[in-house]
Amino acid sequence: HAALSRRYVLCEVISEDPRCRQCIEDRVLGLAVRDAITRVHGDYGLACCSISFTVKYLNAYTGTVLLRCRKDSYRLLCSALPFVRHLESRGQRYPCSLNTLHVGGTIRTCQKFLIQYNRTQLLRMLQNCTNEEERQCIQKSLLSCSLTEEQSESGDEEDDDGTE
């Protein structure tokens, strides 16, 4: 039987409005992405992408979002992401855009990319510091980071939680 292939799309939410961060929830993002797919690719596109579509991971602090979809429809999904213009939550709309960072076949490859990406982002933030206080803050954060081995390795390869 054919293997169930999925694609994991890693993106970040870019917004000038700091209140947009509190909108970063799986339901809000799921709706925004689905709405964009409907506008760009119609009912057919929405139906294609909705199979196995889910928001797999979110980080409201960094604005990182990990989306999952079928391998057959990841192009429909990726081409619709630039058309997400705002996030809507509790009757409020905050303008934003989605920047695609990486497309991978497993959660693990996206995770590896994200770790590397965050490292470079932190270094860039350090370089762009405007005052000494910020610099000290970031340096302290960086130095206090440590990698802890997880005791129970929950297989996060091809995550198959049965949700279609």
Partner: protein, 139 residues
Amino acid sequence: RGPAGLGMAVAAFERRVLRNAAEHHYLRVRLELPDGGARPNAAQFKQLVVTALRELHGEVGAALPVDVLTYEEKTLSAILRVISSGLVKLWSALTLLGFYQNRRCAFRVLQFCLFFLSPNQTSPFLLALSGNSRELVLD
């Protein structure tokens, strides 16, 4: 707008062979509006085709180059031309369209053609070469 050629015995036809002869596909369609109300004019008909594409295939579908080559308001029949790669999108969109201005309607595809044969430059004449629709794939 060049016609694609086939060898024909009749003297009235001209043989012309184009390099990319199958660039466009042609559909002869008829709109069924059973309620007997006002009929759409040519512009409204085109708008309806674009609307059908937009509903099923979104803005990308609506941007598909589709031309209404002929339209007869009395019978609501038309010949549509679409770029070859867009045939499946167009056909599926027409099939699934159910309403025109909140009135029940349906598109009937009467004929599907690969080539458009012209006996001379001034009067277009459609020759049906049926394509095998089972080979069509939506990608």
